[in-house]
């Protein structure tokens, strides 16, 4: 059925009249023009703008350093009454997390199918790293993987995310081209897209009842960003 359907659909599309096809859109040129039109932002302004935009989405930004972020996270967990914090035990951050003395550290170390009820009902918070952030919209970039599974940033009511301020991009386009998401000539155009890539801007929300905003629709009710900055930027 589906192959007949496929052939019929493609045949109908191919037999449709075609005028002169438009040239490929110049997306790079569009963003280059926009970039040239706006005054260049320095690091401090970029950080400032990211924090402001993230605050607009009700993301809580806490400035930390390379050396104290785990301690800050521990303090936040105490303040927010977090008794179980999901983390990736194989990640680069694991050692620091384990050393910080955080209450109820819980590694995501088995397939979700084995422990769904516990994940959904008995996990207060999740901690993940990020691949960067976007200043224009106040957005985190996450590429979950086997070390940091997808549901860590979705199921627990609080999501803590670690973001390095040196990984801030102006916009989505700059982030995907800057990080070479869709591959390049060198890699023979092979896509580097992971199983799942995510942009996250604030905690889960809805305005489906009388356009009134409510947070924590299905995902986290709180999003806390640990923004790693230099000592003097604290």
């Amino acid at each position: 059925m589906t192959s007949t359907a496929r052939n019929n659909i493609l045949q109908r599309l191919r037999s449709a009249p075609q005028g002169k096809p438009p040239l490929a859109p110049d997306v790079h040129g569009f963003y280059a023009t926009a970039r040239n039109a706006a005054p260049a932002e320095d690091r401090a302004a970029r950080i400032e703008r990211f924090c402001e935009k993230m605050a607009f989405w009700r993301g809580e930004v806490v400035r930390v350093t390379h050396s104290n972020w785990a301690e800050s996270l521990r303090a936040l967990c105490v303040a927010k009454n977090v008794n179980s914090l999901l983390y990736g035990a194989q990640t680069a951050q694991a050692a620091a997390l384990e050393a910080a003395g955080i209450n109820g550290l819980k590694p995501y170390d088995r397939p979700v199918d084995d422990w769904k009820p516990e994940l959904f009902r008995d996990t207060d918070a999740g901690f993940t790293s990020t691949r960067g952030g976007i200043t224009e919209t106040g957005t985190l970039i996450l590429w979950p993987d086997e070390k940091e599974p997808r549901l860590m940033s979705l199921v627990p009511p609080i999501h803590f995310a670690l973001l390095d301020a040196s990984q801030l991009y102006d916009n989505f386009f700059d982030a995907m081209t800057g990080q070479g998401w869709s591959g390049d000539e060198a890699s023979a155009g092979i896509s580097k897209m992971p199983t799942n890539a995510l942009l996250i801007s604030g905690p889960s929300k809805t305005a489906d009842i009388q356009v009134t905003l409510a947070y924590g629709a299905h995902g986290p009710k709180e999003l806390v960003i640990l923004l790693v900055v230099n000592e003097e930027e604290l």
Binding site: L13, P25, R150, F172, A197, V211
Partner: protein, 483 residues
């Protein structure tokens, strides 16, 4: 015998019924107030996102270009998408119509002995009426978008493509939850109402064997399905169950990943006046070895359902540029007055008026393109610059005439043909192409203005009768010349 066997009417809506529904809708004060308030809110929010009209024009120009480019290469891009998705481990299915699409999804569900399917927001699955097909074989299909969940609880359909429950007040929802959700007590607090929905649906995400979603953009070069949402239910549906089925229209495709940011930026800003949604979810593979969550199987169903009919005509093809932001309905004075349900179609408002005839045939839908004053508010805000009024006029013509020579007839071509109207317009043209006749008519109309009928069809419904002036402009000019 229809020209396109893929375009079968899903639901027959006689033109007369459309008129009756709209006149009921405009006299429903509460409904009018709900929609006016909500549309005002959405219009104001959108406006704050586009303070610079020049920049907006540049963005719309680029977005239109990307969509036109994608459509010009549509068959190639579909094949490229299929190749890359398959290489990534995602199974691709093709469906010419709603029935085929539903059969594919039912088949997948049955293979996995599924009892429950949780659904993220998908207008295409509304289009195919998938829930009924699933229920017919004993599989529960549960909507998990809060708005969709609410309307499903009440046995309704969405009244807006972005805000499905926009027609309901919180009091109505409070009552609905108290009656239908076990253990829920009456509350008008929106936070508490959302909390009730959250608690119910989280249990369902855990137990469902299948998750369904729509697709906002399918990227051919990387084999990636992009989903836009605020709530997180889309992520739940595409991550927790062991099978994920995505369904989309064949037109929702772009060639390159870099084509996504301009469209995504305009989509959310045009829709709800948000610079970005909470989540933008890009899915390229099922769960890989070593990964601990995500579905083990991912399927994509590509649906035609009349889209190739629109594609077959270069003017009507622009209908397929749509990225489903809903801005046209938010800004439509007709939609604001009658609400989404009055249309009786999956897609209401201006976009619904131009796409439904391809999906359901003109016999069922010919009244829709006439339900517009052609004010142009829709095309003014359309982020991909679909010339909606021109397409409405075109469809009015197709509904009231046979196909032009050399053009394939549309499904339901000429469904509104009327010998009387043909005579009226032929008479009109005869009068207005013969100046002497027109002058005589003008002379009579002004001199015998007392004979003007007091009841003038729809006009006098709420207006005093129109009466020609005592003297026409040409009479006055002639008089002035004599003086």
């Amino acid at each position: 015998m229809s020209a396109h066997e893929n375009s079968q009417p899903l639901k027959f809506i006689p033109a007369s019924e459309f008129k009756q529904r709209t006149s009921e809708a405009v006299s429903d004060e509460l409904l009018r107030k709900s929609f006016r308030g909500a549309m005002d809110f959405l219009m104001a929010k959108r406006a704050t996102q586009f303070p610079d009209p020049v920049a907006l024009e540049a963005q719309r120009g680029l977005a239109e270009h990307i969509r036109k480019y994608s459509l010009a290469h549509l068959p190639d891009l579909l094949e490229q998408l299929e190749r890359n998705l398959t290489a990534n481990g995602i199974q691709v299915h093709w469906a010419e119509n709603a029935e085929q699409a539903n059969a594919i999804i039912v088949g997948i569900a049955q293979k996995h002995s599924a009892k429950l399917m949780v659904k993220g927001k998908s207008m295409v699955s509304e289009e195919t009426e998938l829930n009924h097909a699933m229920e017919a074989v004993g599989i529960e299909a549960l909507e998990s978008d809060m708005g969709e969940y609410i309307v499903q609880l009440d046995g309704e359909k969405p009244s807006h493509i972005i805000m499905p429950a926009i027609h309901k007040t919180k009091q109505q929802i409070a009552k609905l939850f108290a009656e239908k959700v076990p253990g829920a007590s009456y509350t008008e607090s929106v936070d508490e109402l959302i909390g009730i929905g959250r608690a119910v649906l989280r249990e369902k995400f855990m137990t469902a064997e299948i998750g369904l979603s729509g697709v906002n953009f399918a990227v051919a070069e990387t084999g990636t399905l992009c989903l836009v949402e605020n709530e997180g239910n889309g992520r739940m549906c595409t991550t927790v169950p062991k099978v994920h089925v995505a369904i989309t229209g064949i037109e929702k495709i772009v060639e390159k990943l870099e084509h996504v940011p301009p469209l995504f930026g305009l989509l959310t800003r045009s829709a709800t006046g948000q610079a970005v949604t909470t989540y933008f979810n890009m899915i390229s593979r099922p769960r890989q070895p070593g990964e601990k969550d995500g579905p083990q199987e991912v399927h994509l169903v590509l649906l035609d359902n009349g889209r190739t009919q629109a594609y077959n005509d270069e003017q009507m093809r622009s209908t397929l540029q749509c990225i489903r932001c809903g801005a046209c309905m938010n800004h439509c004075p007709v939609y604001t007055r009658v609400g989404g349900h009055a249309y009786g179609t999956t897609y209401p408002g201006p976009i619904g008026e131009i796409i439904s005839p391809h999906m359901m045939g003109l016999a069922a839908t010919h009244a829709l393109p006439t339900a517009s004053s052609l004010c142009g508010a829709c095309s003014e805000v359309c982020p991909v610059k679909i010339p909606i009024p021109d397409l409405l006029i075109r469809l009015r013509g197709e509904a009231s005439h046979d196909a032009r020579p050399g053009h394939a007839p549309l499904v339901g071509q000429g469904a509104a043909k009327s010998a009387l109207m043909d005579i009226v317009w032929a008479g009109w043209a005869a009068l207005y192409t013969r100046p002497a006749l027109y002058r005589a008519f003008g002379w009579l109309a002004t001199r015998f203005r007392f004979l003007t009928p007091p009841m003038q069809s729809g006009w006098t419904y709420s207006r005093t009768p129109l009466k020609p002036a005592a003297r026409s402009l040409r009479d006055l000019l002639a008089e002035r010349k004599r003086k």
